[in-house]
Amino acid sequence: MNLTLKIWRQTDAVDKGKIHTYEVAGISQDMSFLEMLDVLNEQLNELGEEPIAFDSDCREGICGMCSLMINGEPHGPEVTTTCQLHMRSFNDGDTITIEPWRSGAFPVVKDLVVDRSAFDRIIQSGGYISANTGSAPEANSVPVPRDNAVRAFNVATCIGCGACVAACPNGSASLFLGAKITHLGELPQGQPERWSRVVDMTAQHDYEGFGGCTNIGECAAACPKEIPLDVISQLNRDLRTAMKHGH
């Protein structure tokens, strides 16, 4: 198929940036979206124009490195990551607009690449269970009810991609935050730090400049890992309880 691509180009963090238009031809349905961009980049290199910078690594939907707003939707039209989106989701002759994540807390580095280090700092503020190496008891000494284990797993599948933030009109990272709070809060091992964790992580979230949650739900709709909205209710419940406990 032949496509018209409108792509955001920005040389660095201070450049104002603007949309450039490119044409690509001979794209196969079986290509992934990023392979289509690879084709464009090969063309640009040939023509002497610097290739477009975009992030990707695993290209299997698990590392969370890829991003992209595709026609205004984070990761494009399907419930998956950009690297797992395939060109069969588009039609010959389509015009596709490609932009970076838009959020004050994720400044653009270059072209389609953004800085998501704020997520690491949120984890640093409490997104862990303190268990030094070597101090662990025998694994089966603490049984975990299967339902808790399953819920913990389901929300622990968050890949830290930031689509939830990009989708949210407030630029909130509540889905990402709620997923971690829920993952660790479902497990017996996560109980000792449960209340300090939610308070510290929320404070860091706000400090990074992510907005508040007003229950719009765009985040869960955009999440490639289908992290459910109820993690945000869990986050709010835990936060209230923590406050009551005087944290």
Binding site: D12, G61, Q84, G190
Partner: protein
């Protein structure tokens, strides 16, 4: 084996005359150096060696630890676990990764699971059995002391991960579940649905981030290590490029750890991440670190087949699928284009079950891969034509769905089957999946002793980047085990012995070793940007990949390898004269990053071919056409090749001339296990 002429034991040897009963296929391509040996594993009963070594490793006073600095390149399971643990111990750690977050290291992509000899199922598992299975699975080409230690600490890993909140699969009673995995007959693989690597890595990442907050670990993301600094015979730091600003930075420390992962991307198409590279290891190799068994590559049997030229990577379907899926091809070549659902049972050849009745679909990876290739070479492959053949075999869930129900299959494998559908557009619950082998893992890597120290003093290597535990073939679910064993439980003990002599005399940024390393890095970058030729980096990478897959892939012959070496040398000349990299050095420049990686892959590719050429035997993932049994199984030659091939860089450090690599042999001695030809029949 129909289209494999000339591959009997005695044929095909036009180039050299065998000398004194032994072939020297690689004669002229290498020189022979002094033998080497691991000097760190204590003597005595294998079961006591690690305890002895831990006890003998000298201690570092907690008050001194803060004064000792450690650089760790890599934040996968091996590097992340080490950074967390050494940070907890109080050392001053600097951690590097090329991604924008440590959590994105390629360990994240591991699907199937992690082994541990917990024996929760009372099915006869034990440390000794895990040890035995791993040595046997590696086709008796690994170092027994290292493997035993791996098996020994495996159980601690599960305890540690559970304590961190890793949500492993559990049974209804709340206890941990596990399953059996390719190549073994006990159930010892712990898993978190099809995302085990992700969950383990997030555990290590979180533990490491906790240390970042506590100030013991400093993380440098989007930083690529481009050189190691070796001053007065000791590794003392690295040169790294800040990939955002392009700044070339010097980082000094008392010790350097490489946990930079595997180099499967030398094949261009592999299941590795786009950025996975050999640069960290290769730069160390050029500075004196030996590269061991570089040709040992694992070709994984269950990947999604290639669909076209545009393909940028291959996707693995965890081999845990082999537990419930049955592998087959049509008995008759004329059925290959048919809808598989229309092929009756009696016309299907479940070839693994047929050839290997006792292991069936669970034979080790190398065997499963080679048999898939054989079926396709015979003209019984399925799916689209790739060149002259259909390159695919069926992996069929029909019987498992009938036996266990669709829900059970969905619960076990949902994300994998979804991913398959997303990529191929076919529903695997209805139509059998198509799979084909793809490059997945490298057993080869930098040579290390029992302490995981390379042949450069003060340079330690962990995880997939070293060569130590898997011999010529790695069993499923044991790379995660090794990464975490190295990072949490081995390195922290062995590195303290080294550090107990520190802090070492400070070296300044004006030390000649530093200024030279910096100048080399800067000159190389300058060179990439100024060649101004006509070909993109990717085009060179793709071409290298074709050469490697064709001649150094699932089956290797002396003739093919010699041809490949010539082709690679020619490709290298072209690369350095016709490369085109646009953009500048002082900004984010992904083509420039790739240029450095591909330059190193080209040199590595040549060494892999030389190693493969030298090793005129078949073992594990290394199959030499000249060395097979009558029925086409791999045939080892223990009398000649029961050694680790550790290659020393023979070129000039500053130029692109590879020179002639020097081969050091480390004899493999087995005291706790008897060498046998593997049989999975």
């Amino acid at each position: 084996m129909t289209d494999m002429p000339d591959t009997t034991l005695t044929s095909d040897h036009s180039h050299d005359e065998p000398s004194a009963g032994a072939y020297d296929d690689a004669s002229g391509y290498y020189t022979l150096g002094e033998p080497i040996a691991d000097t760190k594993a204590p003597a005595g009963d294998i079961a006591d060696r690690w305890q002895t070594r831990k006890f003998e490793a000298r201690l570092v006073n907690p008050a001194n630890r803060r004064k000792l600095s450690i650089i760790i390149v890599g934040t996968g399971l091996a590097g992340g676990a080490a950074a967390a643990t050494l940070g907890e111990a109080g050392y001053n750690v600097k951690s590097f990764c090329y991604q924008d977050s440590p959590r994105r290291a390629h360990s994240i992509a591991a699907q199937g699971g992690i082994n541990a000899a917990k024996n929760y199922k009372e099915d006869g598992d034990s440390t000794h059995r895990l040890f035995y299975d791993t040595v046997k699975g590696g086709d008796y080409r690994s170092r027994e002391s290292n493997v035993y230690r791996l098996a020994e600490v495996s159980t601690n890993i599960i305890d540690q991960c559970v304590a961190q909140g890793v949500p492993f699969a559990r049974e209804y009673g709340g206890l941990l579940d596990n399953r059996s995995f390719g190549g073994v007959q006990v159930s010892r693989t712990f898993y978190a649905r099809g995302q085990t690597g992700q969950q383990l890595l997030i555990g290590a990442y979180q533990a490491m981030e906790r240390q970042v907050k506590l100030g013991t670990v400093t993380e440098y993301t989007r930083h690529e290590m481009l050189e190691v600094i070796v001053a007065d015979g000791q590794a003392r730091g690295i040169i790294a490029r800040d990939m955002v600003t392009g700044a070339i930075e010097t980082h000094l420390a008392d010790v350097v750890v490489l946990a930079s992962g595997g180099y499967g991307n030398v094949f261009y198409l592999s299941t590795n991440a786009m950025g996975s590279n050999v640069t960290a290891a290769w730069r160390a190799h050029r500075k004196g670190a030996y590269m061991a068994n570089p040709c040992y590559t694992q070709i994984h049997p269950t990947c999604i087949p290639v669909s076209g030229d545009h393909q940028s990577k291959l996707t693995l379907m965890s081999e845990s699928l082999r537990n419930d899926g049955r592998i087959w091809v049509p008995k008759k070549a004329e059925d290959c284009a048919k809808d598989p659902r229309d092929i009756p049972e009696e016309d299907r050849d479940y070839y693994l079950e047929r050839i290997y009745p006792s292991f069936g679909n669970l034979v080790p990876r190398d065997i499963a891969s080679r048999q898939a290739k054989n079926m396709c070479d015979e003209g019984r492959g399925v799916g689209p034509m790739v060149g002259d053949f259909r390159r695919g075999v069926y992996l069929d869930f029909k019987d498992a769905i009938a036996r266990l129900g669709k829900d059970a299959i969905e619960e076990k494998y949902d994300n994998l089957l979804d991913m398959y559908e997303r990529i191929t557009g076919e529903n695997p619950y209805e139509v059998p999946m198509r799979i084909y082998p793809a490059v997945h893992y490298v057993m080869g890597g930098l040579w290390v002793d029992y302490d995981l120290q390379s042949s450069i003093k003060g340079l330690f290597v962990t995880g997939e980047a070293n060569f130590s535990d898997h011999g010529a073939n790695r069993l499923g679910a044991s790379a995660l085990m090794q990464g975490l064993a190295d990072g949490y439980f081995v390195l922290p003990h062995t590195i303290r012995d080294y550090l107990s002599d520190g802090p070492f005399e400070e070296i300044g940024e004006d030390h000649p070793a530093v200024t030279e390393a910096r100048a080399d890095v800067e000159a190389r970058i300058e060179k990439f940007l100024s060649i101004n030729g006509s070909r993109s980096v990717d085009s060179f990478h793709r071409e290298l990949g074709h050469i490697m897959w064709e001649y150094c892939g699932m089956e290797r012959t002396a003739e093919g390898l010699r041809k490949a070496i010539d082709m690679i040398r020619e490709l290298k000349r072209e690369f350095w004269s016709d490369l085109k990299v646009l953009g500048t050095a002082d900004s984010l420049n992904q083509s420039l990053e790739k240029a450095g990686r591909v330059a190193d892959f080209i040199e590595l590719g040549e060494l892999m071919c030389i190693d493969a050429l030298n090793r005129r035997e078949s073992c594990g993932g290394h199959f030499r056409g000249e060395s097979q049994t009558e029925d086409g199984e791999a045939l080892r030659h223990d009398d000649e090749f029961a050694y680790v091939a550790a290659w020393e860089w023979g070129g000039d450090a500053a130029s692109n001339d590879m020179g002639t690599p020097i081969l050091h042999k480390e004899d493999l001695v087995y005291t706790a296990i008897e060498m046998k030809q593997r049989s999975y029949k």
